[in-house]
């Protein structure tokens, strides 16, 4: 690689050619402010907050998109640079509502930070404001277009990382907006509800739909028995809201905080993650032995489910019929647990703490009521739980660790790793191996399915059969897998697909920032938590064994099918066209799955 020498703020810097001025400055430890730029995701040079002076150039240059040149002399904070930056920021502010005090991003907003950093003390320009209504049509995501600063990060993540393109840049000039085509509501677009856009939005224009007040309401209702379940990924991320290290395992504090908030029982989605392995593992074995549809796809990620329903409805028969752990939990809480505890299911409220915005959508799917009630009532993201804990004045960091309640709080390391990409696959392999061979696994760690590579493939010898598996995360990688399957070049048996990059630890409801670095740190926490547990294989979970003995009888049994399995809806790419197609395709799928 050719090296380029230049000076930034009179400091001599040597970088590889092709490096941008911004990257070169970062390498030299010089900070240039940015707004629209987002490493690896969005490099469009639209906000011009990052302008710098390049000696000899007629105009100021946007550092995030301008490559370095030999001998360049750059100033990142000269008077003209500071003036231009302020002006550009003030122009953005001229069209922005000053609603910080009541904004969900208050104190976590890049625009606010930048305004503070630049020392803006008045709004000089009263711009023409275009009134735009808030879109709260979905159960998951809220769009407030008036707060949008048109940075396009959401468009980039939706198109390139998720391969969905539910939203785009519409119109031009003053009329420019970001949103679905034809000014449709998000509910009417082929959006997966993944919430990756809410992670990258620098302001409060794209956020999770909050259910905090609903949960406070049931918590203070003496007639309600409120149980809570926590997804695997929460234990390695909730601490971030309170200044703990990213990825630090804080399971015990999480449980203590939930009890302090007033939940009647604190249970763990990990319990039903173990149960998922039992059901899904047997479904896989059954499909392989009876010549069923292969490869089988995992079905625990609701963003992925909605994606395949929109874009690959013809592959729905490949999807495992297992409900996600969240929904298995809801169905059991209002049947098995209600019976066991002698509580009227009508008075049970199930709250989930999820790293995910799509889980909010999943909970409201019409088929998710096998208990006779809506199985999961409210889904809160990690971010919302953080706000509740803060509102209650609980000092998270100094909480004494506590344990989950029995019986739905018992779990193994195999369940914890559901939180990271490759985890469901690894958990399934641990169990499939032992169930099929009857031998104890020599080593529990399946390294080839771990890590942040977009698509991972492996072959595993299970009792003399070579099982071929693939793992992907981020929906654009799922798209690639689907294309390979459709073209017939793939011969996998089992495919794990997670909607969000990194798996659930990188979910759309996780703390901001969620980027490659924090994803890696949280994954580290997940595998640490797995190692620290005495039991690390789902079929060793004593509470799951008991559940089968007392209630479900056996995996894939009658009760399991009633409570733990589901069917899917073909939606198509366009909502208006989707309606008529959906009906007959849904019928096909249902009959295939039976």
């Amino acid at each position: 690689m050719a090296l380029v020498t230049l000076t930034i703020d009179r400091k001599k810097v040597q970088v590889e050619s092709g490096t941008t001025i911004l990257e070169a400055a970062q390498q030299a430890g010089i900070k240039i402010p940015t707004l629209c730029y987002l490493e690896d995701v969005n490099v469009v040079g639209s906000c011009r907050i990052c302008v710098v002076e390049v000696k000899g150039a007629r105009t100021l240059q946007a550092a995030c998109v301008t490559p370095v040149g030999e001998g360049m002399e750059i100033s990142t904070n000269s008077a003209p640079v500071r003036k231009a930056r302020r002006l550009n920021l003030e122009l953005i502010l001229s069209d922005h509502p000053f609603e910080c005090l009541t904004c969900v991003r208050n104190q976590h907003c890049e625009l606010q930070d930048l305004t503070a950093e630049m020392g803006i003390r008045e709004s000089r320009f009263e711009g023409e404001r275009v009134e735009r209504p808030v879109d709260s049509s979905t159960p998951s995501i809220v769009r407030d277009p008036e707060k949008c600063i048109l940075c396009r990060r959401c468009i980039a993540v939706c198109e390139h990382v998720q391969g969905v393109s539910a939203i785009g840049l519409n119109e031009r000039g003053m009329e420019t907006t970001v949103g679905p085509a034809f000014g449709d509501k998000l509910q009417e677009a082929a959006c997966t509800m993944c919430g990756q856009c809410t992670l990258v939005c620098p302001v409060g224009a794209l956020t999770e739909k909050e259910y905090v007040d609903d949960v406070w309401a049931v918590l203070s209702d003496p007639e309600k028995h409120v149980v809570v379940q926590t997804a695997p990924a929460i234990r390695v991320s909730i601490g971030e809201a309170f200044g703990l290290d990213v990825g630090e395992v804080s399971t015990g504090k999480l449980v203590a905080a939930l009890r302090a908030l007033g939940f009647d029982r604190v249970f763990d989605t990990d319990f039903t993650a173990d149960l998922t392995i039992m059901e899904e593992g047997h479904e896989l074995i059954d499909r392989i032995q009876s010549g069923g549809v292969l490869p089988m796809f995992t079905s625990c990620s609701p963003g992925w489910i909605k994606f395949i329903e929109h874009f690959y409805p013809e592959l729905l028969p490949n999807l495992s019929t297992c409900k996600s752990p969240q929904q298995m939990f809801g169905a059991l809480a209002k049947t098995f647990y209600a019976e066991k505890a002698g509580i009227d299911p009508a008075s049970i409220v199930v709250v989930s703490i999820m790293p995910c915005t799509a889980k909010k959508f999943e909970a409201q799917r019409p088929e998710m009521n096998s208990s006779g009630y809506q199985d999961v009532d409210y889904v809160l993201t990690t971010r919302e739980l953080g706000r509740m804990i803060a509102e209650a004045g609980i000092d998270f960091r100094s909480l004494e660790e506590e344990d989950y309640d029995a019986p739905l709080g018992m779990s193994t390391g195999a369940a914890v790793i559901f939180g990271a990409t490759g985890g469901v696959m690894e958990a399934a392999l641990r169990t499939a191996y032992e169930v099929l061979t009857g031998d104890e696994l020599p080593g529990l760690d399946f390294e080839p399915v771990r890590g942040l590579q977009g698509i991972k493939e492996a072959e595993v010898d299970v009792a003399g059969t070579t099982v071929k598996v693939a793992v992907s995360h981020g929906l654009s990688n799922a798209r690639e897998l689907m294309e390979r399957i459709k073209s017939g070049e793939a011969d996998w048996h089992f495919v794990e697909i997670m909607c969000c990059p990194g798996g659930c630890i990188g979910g759309g409801g996780q703390p901001i920032p969620t980027n490659t670095e924090t994803r890696q740190q949280r994954i580290g926490g997940i595998y640490q938590a797995d190692k620290d547990l005495a039991l690390r294989k789902s079929h060793d979970n004593p509470a799951v064994k008991e559940l089968y003995e007392e209630y479900l009888e056996k995996p894939l049994g009658h009760k399991s099918h009633e409570l733990l399995h589901t069917h899917y809806t073909a939606r198509g790419r366009f909502t208006d066209k989707a309606e008529d197609k959906a009906e007959d395709k849904a019928k096909d799928v249902a009959s295939d799955a039976d």
Binding site: I155, E159, V164, S165, A166, I167, G168, L169, N170, E171, R172, P180, A181, F182, A189, A190, R573, F574, D576, K577
Partner: protein
């Protein structure tokens, strides 16, 4: 209330279908195929955009973004009567904004839009080269000079279909 339904003939998607067929899966041909749609249909309705999305394997969001960005493409068919209002400098300083405002009020549409009965389309244009006559308005083939805001209503009346009140 009875909606006034499209009075025009069945739209002919033949040319568009052919263009999509020859460019199947080729996202790079988007602009070209959109041109075909615009020319053969007179506009690019949702149905056409969805056909293109499916055929060229481009997202609807991207297509809609392109259609609304370039003034070459329109989402609505052009009206029977095309009104172009000049907002060039000469017209502007002699009251063209007021004329435009009145046009919008009378027709109930913004520039770039067509009335629901497909009678009138309104467009803002840059200098028409008739600055001596500013402010200028063209209606179909006719040029109207030194137009005043309060004459707009009477002017439009002359172009309305006799049977439509």
């Amino acid at each position: 209330m009875e909606e006034k339904v499209c009075v025009c003939q069945e739209e002919d998607y033949g040319a568009l279908e052919k263009a999509i067929e020859t460019n199947r899966g080729n996202a790079g041909a988007l602009i070209q195929v959109l041109h075909t749609a615009q020319e053969s249909l007179g506009y690019v309705p949702r149905k056409a955009q969805e056909m293109i999305a499916e055929g060229l394997n481009v997202s609807l969001a991207e297509i809609y973004g392109v259609v609304t960005f370039y003034s070459l493409f329109s989402l609505k068919p052009k009206g029977r009567v095309q009104v172009n209002c000049c907002q060039g400098t000469a017209c502007y300083v002699r009251g063209a904004p007021k004329v435009l405002e009145r046009l919008q009020r009378e027709l109930g549409i913004s520039p770039g839009d067509t009335t629901d009965d497909r009678e009138f389309s309104l467009e803002v244009v840059r200098c028409l080269g008739a600055c001596g006559l500013a402010p200028v308005l063209t209606v179909n083939e006719d040029t109207h000079a030194r137009i005043k805001a309060d004459r707009v209503s009477a002017l439009l009346e002359r172009y309305r279909k006799p049977e439509s009140n």
